[in-house]
Symmetry: C2
């Protein structure tokens, strides 16, 4: 069961809690807005659901409450943002704004982050350039190593997500957002919270046999999407988002949830690309509409109602949640009520 | 069975044939070099194997023998290259050189192509920035629609490949190159040429049942790698490589092999990213070596000898073929001997 709350109410609660924990009011409001942006668009495993983990890290000293986020290297079209171990959302939003500014000047901007932290949903950042008529591409090193290289058993890779957002003309923008593992740990945790089993193919045990009990996830190995191709993609994203920026990747990546008190040195990248550099943006937008419309208009396989374009589900959830609020499952509600009591912030719906 | 030939001998043959077909000697030599770059690195389905298809297109008037390739739009970090319907390799190499030049000036360069053609192996172009110490990222619209959108049956997507190359320090560069379908049509054609069956999971019939006879490939649907995630990736790559550049994508994409006499308007993109914009390139290279070494050093699953990093197989094939020549299967050899007779160019090994 769940109850729905307006996005603004979730933001009020998160910002109140983070301020109480010692974050400056402006930073707390920014983080709340960026967390709830995930909930607004249906990425439930990456929004307010993560607040308890973030609080544990803040309280254990694993996150700097008052970071000085700065651009530490810069060329005409590239920047490297140092997050000073603050909340990851702040560094990535700074990177996104920087990439957009550079793209408006040179056609493309790329910004990497280091000394950051978990920043929530990939598509929140990939979609930021949309408001400027631009394409966004985002990648990140995930929050801990849960996947081995293809054929191996050492946990050296995370769920390293990839997201992209492409503006359309009159239609819904194309927004892709996926973990390079078959399933993300966030998704497994929501399955666990609902008391369900994982389908075969999400995880295996160290001997290669299927593992479907989400409670046993800590001893299992996540599998890459598409076999060895997903391994390659996870590795490349990790090198671009982590290694290139001087952020953690491979053996030096910690588990941001289990390892509360150490700096995670999380890395991300965001690229903004301006369609105006290629031609008339309106004509390009119309062409995107045409291609997307062809996909939606496809005849379907037996048993399939309709064909979707990546981003269609997001747009539907965005509209539903703007009108009807964001559903908070009872188990999460109880956790948040506990946080309300600890922090003396008025609980959701009060 | 196969016989091996030196790369230079393959280049001599291809350049001779293309010159005979009316390409300027310089363009013919460039195309030969770029085609054989695929054979040198083991991408056998994208090198000299494609010569018969290219010849059919040239002879049918589907390719402009004497293109005027030009940069038609340009910003500080972005360029759009018009291939004037010449051989695709020429436009993409021009794009790669342009992206590298811009990256050396601004940290990153992105170049798209339109009015191009099939350009061979993705990793040939993604790897070009390596010689300048840079990262390369490449995507393309494939040579015909063989995949439906997820859940659909209309053929609206191609194998849209993605490739990336990341320089290492002392070690082998990381080079990823894959079709976003489970299998590429090139791979299916080499399987067909060897008289083998396809594994289940590569293709399905229109009713969703498995299709394993490569001779029936024209009536089948390719499946995306990783299910709906691969569909999203194929679509996004197609929008970036095709639609953004004013090139074909979706309903207006022709089959470059079957539809010989019409311009294909193939699109590709290449991005070059300079590690020097992020920090000391030597330190970044060492960090890439460290991460790659961790992958190779992983304990293995039962039955697996060793863990590879993407690019390791390429490096091994590159070394083997430089020392021992490039294997040409007898069936391909017979085809090439036929071309030699038609064009009065001395056959391979003469």
């Amino acid at each position: 069961m769940s109850e729905r709350f307006a996005a603004g109410e979730l933001e009020r609660f998160i910002a109140g809690v983070l301020t109480r924990e010692g974050l400056p009011a402006g930073d707390a409001a920014d983080v709340a807005r960026l967390m709830v942006a995930a909930d607004r668009t249906g990425f439930d495993a990456h929004g307010i659901f993560r607040l308890p983990d973030y609080l544990k890290r803040i309280r254990a000293g694993g996150i700097n409450r008052t970071p000085k986020i700065a651009i530490v290297r810069e060329t005409a079209s590239v920047a490297l943002v140092d997050g000073d171990n603050g909340m990851g959302h702040l560094a990535v939003e700074r990177a996104a704004r920087t990439a957009i500014r550079k793209a408006s000047e040179t056609g493309i901007g790329w910004a990497g982050t280091r000394n950051g932290n978990h920043a929530g949903a990939a598509s929140v950042y990939a979609a930021m350039p949309l408001a400027h008529g631009m394409i966004g591409i985002y990648g990140a090193v995930g929050g801990g190593n849960q996947m081995p290289p293809w054929g191996g058993t050492d946990l050296l890779l995370s769920t390293n997500p990839l997201a992209a957002a492409i503006p359309a003309g009159n239609g819904t923008p194309v927004v892709m957002d996926f973990a390079t593992t078959v399933a993300s740990m966030g998704r497994i945790r929501t399955v666990a919270q609902r008391g369900e089993a994982m389908p075969e193919g999400w995880m295996v045990a160290r001997d290669g046999t299927p593992l479907t009990d989400p409670a046993r996830a800590p001893e299992g190995l996540l599998l890459p999407m598409g076999g060895y191709k997903g391994y390659a993609l996870a590795l490349v994203i990790g090198l671009l988002a982590g290694t290139l920026n001087g952020a953690a990747m491979g053996g030096d990546l910690i588990d941001y949830i289990a390892d509360n008190d150490r700096a995670a040195n999380t890395g991300q990248f965001i690229c903004a690309l301006d369609p105006a550099a290629f031609g008339d943006p309106a004509a390009i937008g119309s062409a995107v509409d045409r291609v997307a419309g062809e996909m939606r208009g496809s005849a379907t396989m037996p048993g399939v109602d309709s064909v979707l374009v990546p981003g269609d589900g997001r747009a539907a959830r965005l509209a539903d949640r703007a009108a009807n609020g964001i559903p908070i499952p009872d188990a999460l509600r109880a956790t948040l009520d506990g946080i309300a009591e600890e922090t003396e912030v008025a609980p959701l719906g009060s």
